[in-house]
Symmetry: C2
Subunit: 324 residues, 2 copies
């Protein structure tokens, strides 16, 4: 683990190195635009579609980056992680591509599609109760028992830098941005995106978007220290985390301008917009950024705004229930 001084030193150059590692393995996802969204907001919105990423979410970038740095000894022992879903699939797929074993600790109420996909990639799934058990403790114990390397879902420099490659590609494709809206759960995507945007589009306002019910990130940024909350009750299952990671907060504190929140109803409306007007399936967590723009939570009029659509892993039955 890095100490506080190392944390403060996470650099954009490490995002560039991550981009080289994942090149040809991760998809370079498309950037879509919508005249309707632009008309509704008065802005120019650029949606970086990580729902089309391998394993259905941006998480593959960070997972593959981290695992591709393993030593031979680490590869032989395999990787361990805990995740509510998308990071689980990303680690399982990355491990399978790199020929190593993977054990994933998943909450008992994780979406069925995410559990099935994780097993489908050949990983071992270990279930825990997210309301009564501590996954980080279970992870540490199992890692020690099995000699596996723990790659947590967001609180890790290699994960953060891997996630930053999405916004690197976005700015490379569309040019300078006035603002960037990024989904916020544990802070892997937001921290990585902030490293990339600060370097490639200086002056771009970097904004994290959380579910209303779980605004620990907003509280943390305002108070200057990581705030812990109870497991939030939200449809954004990818953002049901209780606190930011330490590495993540170190970057977020210095590089992120603001953190805002949206309601579950606003997330559903954004899901409907994506489905009806942009013909794509976005999971609730992936709608956070778009919901903030479409509902005027962040003023975007007249601006060029990047929005990271983080993932599309939502059971069809649940999707149908939410949008139809």
């Amino acid at each position: 683990m890095l100490n506080m001084i190392d944390m403060a030193q996470l650099q954009f150059s490490e995002v560039v190195q991550a981009a080289a590692r994942i090149k040809g393995v991760a998809h370079r996802t498309p950037v879509l635009t919508s005249r309707t969204a632009d008309r509704l907001t008065g802005a120019q919105l650029f949606f970086k579609c990580e729902n089309f990423q391998r394993s259905g979410a941006f998480k593959f970038r960070g997972a593959y980056n981290a695992l591709s740095k393993f030593t031979d000894a680490q590869r032989r022992a395999g990787v361990l992680t805990y995740s509510s879903g998308n990071h689980a699939q990303a680690i399982a797929l990355s491990a399978s591509l790199l020929g190593m074993a993977a054990a994933i600790i998943m909450p008992h109420d994780a979406p069925a599609l995410k559990v099935a996909a994780t097993k489908g990639y050949g990983a071992e799934v270990i279930v825990y109760d997210r309301y009564t058990e501590n996954r980080e403790e279970i992870g540490r114990r199992l890692a020690q028992q099995r000699g596996m390397t723990l790659i947590p879902p967001y609180d890790h420099p290699d994960v953060i830098c891997g996630q930053g490659t999405a916004v690197m590609e976005l700015i490379d494709e569309v040019g300078q941005l006035d603002a960037l809206l990024v989904c916020l759960g544990g802070g892997g995507l937001l921290a990585g995106s902030a490293l990339a945007a600060a370097a490639l589009s200086p002056g771009c306002r970097i904004i994290g978007v959380e579910p209303e019910a779980g605004n620990d990130g907003q509280q943390s940024l305002r108070s200057g220290a990581v705030v812990h909350i109870a497991v939030p009750d939200t449809i954004a299952d990818g953002a049901m985390v209780t606190h930011l990671g330490a590495h993540n907060f170190a970057v977020i504190e210095r590089a992120v301008d603001d953190i805002v929140t949206v309601s579950d109803a606003q997330l559903v409306a954004a899901m409907q917009f994506f489905a009806e007007r942009m013909k794509m399936m976005v999971e609730p967590t992936g709608c956070l950024g778009a919901a903030a723009a479409l509902n005027g939570v962040v003023p975007v009029e007249g601006k060029r705004v990047g929005i990271v659509v983080s993932g599309g892993n939502v059971d069809l039955a649940r999707f149908a229930r939410l949008v139809a």
Copy 2:
């Protein structure tokens, strides 16, 4: 109208001219790939995603190409068309962008989303009964009464050449193809695609895919003359046409290698695949090409195969009913 000799002379150079006309107005849609689809078929599949096109389908290409060639006098009088849906929206949007009036003759049972979107673009909608009335006759009569120019949904050189730009972009992006699978209704997309593929990827096998219930195209290609059938009963509402267009058949006869069919159940399975694995909404008609590949209707193993995903305009309620 062109005579038979003109029909036989439709050239790829006219597709190139269409590409110049729609540049910067139509989206250059992304080409997506899926390792799962490749694993299931043993092929390398390239999906040209026209569901992300403006107005939700490839139809915008042909409509905008045709309307942008209007004389000043034609623009002042406006455009008229008949369409089960996607061409209607495409004409309505193109007319609105070019500042002309549009009147659209739509069947009484057209999907609600398509009717609403057409009206949303400012067009006048005129309803007819597709089982008892002849839309071509209604169109000719109204065009005469109002002095408007009729741009039919597929049987028109400018429409065909506009539709061809999608496959032009596809081959430009991914290179040579061994086979190309294209949805077939009236033949606008297939004829245009054939012009582009024959010129840009010589030797590529060009295959049209129809719904089982409406195999008039297959019968026509095999018999050497346009075969008329009753309105087919299929979930592929964009392919509920009774016969190929004359201009379309002239191109299809000389440039298309085969026409195959898929069942409605295979279309539903392809829709589910697109939603679950590729996170996108594709309307039933847009699934024709993918259904042929995924079900082995066309042998694709070991081949590089282009698949045109023609559109994504499906009511959310209907989508939910079909896939969830």
